[in-house]
Amino acid sequence: MLTYTLRRLLTAIPTLLLISLVIFLLVDLAPGSPLSEIPLTVPPEVRQKMMAAMGADQPVMVRYVLWLKQFFWIEPQYLIDYWFGTDFAQGAQRIISWQSKAPAFQIIGERLPQTLTVVGTAYFIGILIALPIGIYSAFRQYSWFDQAGTFFAMAGFSVPTFFTGNVLIMIFAVKLGWFPTIYDTQLRVTDWASFYKMIMQMALPVTVLALFNAAEISRYTRSSVLENLNQDYVRTARAKGMGEATVLLKHVLRNSLIPVVTVIALGMPTVFGGAIVTENIFKINGIGAALIGAIHVSDLPLIQTITFIFAVLIVLFNLIADILYGILDPRIRYD
């Protein structure tokens, strides 16, 4: 298993390098300019100077190599300096956002807490809802519960979050006034009052996202449990006189959760990546909102950095899913 992991990690390096190049070229080729938001009152000569100051007038390969150096060499030094109070970086040029002139990693650091809180909670709650629904739906296939669960999953999966989000805001925040419409990223939970506020501002976005996540995972769970229920070992267990609860929860469930765990692991990068649409609707200003904002103003360094981190997370969680699969299912052996 260890050699397998190492091998996978090593093959990930060229993959990621290739991904980073492709992203860089894609973003660079995309139409738009970092100066499109600058008022037209700024004359062309000044615009050219601004482009030069950002380094945006350099050839694309020069900028790519510089970004590679900053991402893999300079930024880790800053991280070490930050952790251990050392001074390896010595003020070297970090990856700076063109729009805000702030280091890209500082922006990501500011954005990560709210994304992890909201999207993470939603993912967790989504799993908690999905598993029982999926298991029971399979156990009582074609019952009214299964039909209702199927309907719920289809609705949750096919109604887009920008629709459910806006409907919820309209009803519960604007008309009824129960929840705030704008997420306060500065709220720190220190006592019950602030905890209550946090719950209130998280309620709507978490509901929307949890519904969406639950829909997907519950379908996987259902089909996996169904598949196992028809296996020989289930018949054997029942023949041995085991109760249905034992059969379902002890034997079937353990086997059926193997693919579900993989699906959950593969979905983890989205938790870090944030939910672009939902974050924008609820003004959460997380990673997803930062990415879409950066795309709007063609802030290449920030887009590149965020999308590349997504790529790293996806490769990483793919590996984790494979390893988990191997651990959970003794029949799978990689070596």
């Binding site: 499109s36 700024v42 100051a53 805000s100 925040a173 003004k283």
Partner: protein, 567 residues
């Protein structure tokens, strides 16, 4: 009427009275929403209006513009003029006298050295200063003593108030920014996000493109102000949600730039928690006519260049007909409601330089048809489209992707169809249209279309640099990488001569008269530019926020020191 205004005045005085007695920091937190979130507080590195506005709470220029567009002293004792000796008789220098005893929010004194440093900062090589145009023509800045700043110009400057005035040219603290000159400017994250200023507030926390929190500046020059102890300046969402947060849910006290359609405006106002405030400045939505041939049959590098005059639109009568066919009031009613008003001028304000040009406000379809006929365009084959020498009058009309602009396009297309002009509509992503990328065929400078629509304005109140955009040598083309503001490719020696005269004319009235003449030359006399609507600033103010005065000449937050909580 007189009694009514007297009563209103008394009522206003009554409402304003509590402000005079308020203490600094007595009114708690004021919540401001900028749906385009704030990226930096340093106007010199800004990427848009939002940053300049937010920065104006902290950083101040020597003088600002009030709601009527008049300069008023902020950090100086008075506005220098030729009469009071502050501006040299030969117009080559201006002397500003700082108010004595001014302190930065960190307690250190503001001196003329800071002012001089600000000029050095914005003109340093490699800094990419976004407000470079404010310091154009400045030869040197002298500081004879701690409170005196002398700005020397390279030549006579009839309008010497560009440097150090308005929210776009605030004074930076030398001690804080000393290591941020030139290429180092963008690495000074701490300084750019938490500048030390002389304004009513100082930054306590800054989250990029998310939220800025500020506290009352303990060293602000008026000990009773500001009334608010803290400011929360939040970003994110869109104009509609921002308007809703003030007008419907009451979560915020003020939301910037809530440009929403008239229907939504009425719906929001029904919320009863606030009101929309507007003020008109110089932002004009216009249709620009391409005087050169954008035909795709021409070779790349020849297309839309002065080598090929436009085959149809070079004829003044056709341009006049296009303008006459438009019902500007209908456009405003559909697109902007209270946020705009119809105009025939390129320079709609301030009054002293705005032409009294109203001829275009009444739509005249028949007149437009007649003009086309006079120019030889008639519908000879009865298909509803006019033609001449076997060629149909077809034009391509481009603008950016924007719901209001698409409504405008549809309406204008309808009217133009009525007079027999066939119109092909095109809409382009704003990032591309305004991006200025020389390789893209879709920038507004390249103008590969017959007419295009967008909005433009000028900084401050003086229109000279704005009028100078239409000089012959500002025409974009392949030789200058398609950079240049004269997108119409308009070139008239008489106009160039007027622009030259303006650059040496002194006196507000003479300058105003000249600007009016130039405005008319571009609009009603030639119809090279077809102005549509004068777009005001349009924001939402909560009923719980008092003292707010809308301003279209400076940052909207220009008088935040006078804001207070209505109890």
């Amino acid at each position: 009427m007189k009694l009514k205004s007297a009563l209103l005045g008394a009522a206003a005085a009554f409402v304003l009275a509590p402000a005079a007695h308020a203490e600094r920091g007595s009114d708690g937190d004021v919540k401001i929403l900028y749906y385009q979130a704030v990226s930096t507080l340093n106007a010199y590195l800004s990427s848009g209006t939002k940053d300049v506005e937010a920065g104006s709470l902290v950083l101040e220029p020597l003088a600002g513009f009030d709601q009527d567009g008049n300069l008023f002293p902020r950090l100086v004792e008075s506005i220098p003029t030729v009469e009071n000796g502050g501006v040299a008789a030969d117009l080559t220098s201006i002397t500003w006298k700082l108010k004595p005893g001014l302190l930065w929010s960190d307690g250190t004194p503001l001196t003329s050295a800071d002012v001089k440093f600000t000029w050095e900062y914005c003109t340093a090589d490699g800094g990419g200063c976004a407000q470079g145009a404010k310091y154009e023509g400045v030869k040197s800045v002298d500081t004879p003593d701690d409170l005196t700043v002398v700005v020397n110009f390279e030549g006579p400057k009839p309008y010497p108030y560009q440097p150090f005035t308005g929210g776009t040219a605030p004074i930076l603290q030398k001690a804080q920014f000393a290591n941020c000159l030139g290429a180092a400017a963008s690495t000074c994250t701490e300084q750019n996000s938490k500048p030390i200023g002389t304004g009513p507030f100082m930054v306590t926390d800054f989250k990029v493109n998310d939220v800025v929190t500020m506290a009352a500046n303990p060293n602000y020059r008026d000990p009773a102000k500001p009334a608010f102890a803290t400011v929360t300046l939040k970003g994110g969402g869109d104009a509609l949600a921002a308007a809703s947060a003030v007008m419907e849910t009451g979560e915020f006290d003020y939301a910037w730039n809530t440009q929403i359609n008239p229907e939504q405006q009425t719906q929001m106002e029904a919320g009863g928690k606030g009101k929309f405030v507007n003020a008109f400045g110089t932002l004009v939505e216009r249709i620009e006519i391409n005087m050169t041939d954008p035909s795709a049959d021409l070779a790349e590098g020849e297309r839309s260049t002065i080598k090929h005059p436009h085959p149809i639109l070079s004829e003044p009568k056709v341009r006049a007909a296009l303008s006459m066919a438009i019902d500007r009031q209908a456009l405003v009613d559909v697109g902007y409601g209270g946020a705009a008003r119809p105009t025939c001028n390129l320079v709609p304000a301030p009054a002293y330089q705005a032409s009294d040009n109203t001829g275009c406000l009444t739509q005249d379809i028949e007149g437009a048809k007649k003009l086309l006929a006079e120019a030889g365009w008639t519908d000879s084959d009865g298909d509803g489209i006019v033609d001449k020498d076997g060629k149909k009058l077809t034009i391509v009309y481009q603008t950016t992707v924007n719901p209001v602009r698409q409504d405008f396009q549809a309406l204008v297309k309808g009217w133009w169809n009525e007079i027999g002009v066939e119109v092909e509509l095109k809409s382009i992503d704003p990032g591309v249209f305004f991006g200025g990328d020389a390789a893209s065929p879709d920038t507004f400078q390249k103008f590969y279309a017959d007419v295009e629509m967008y909005a433009n304005n000028f900084d401050g109140t003086d229109a000279e640099p704005y009028m100078a955009q239409y000089l012959c040598d500002k025409i974009p083309g392949p030789d200058n990488q398609w950079q240049g503001e004269n997108v119409n490719r308009f070139c008239d020696p008489a106009y160039d001569a007027m622009a030259k005269e303006l650059s040496t004319t002194n006196g507000i009235e003479a300058r105003g008269a000249l600007v009016k003449k130039m405005n008319d030359a571009l609009t009603k006399d030639s119809n090279v530019i077809i102005p549509l609507a004068d777009r005001g600033r349009f924001s939402a103010q909560s009923n719980a926020l008092g003292g707010f005065v809308m301003n279209s000449w400076d940052a909207e937050l220009w008088n935040a020191q006078d804001w207070y909580r209505v109890k």
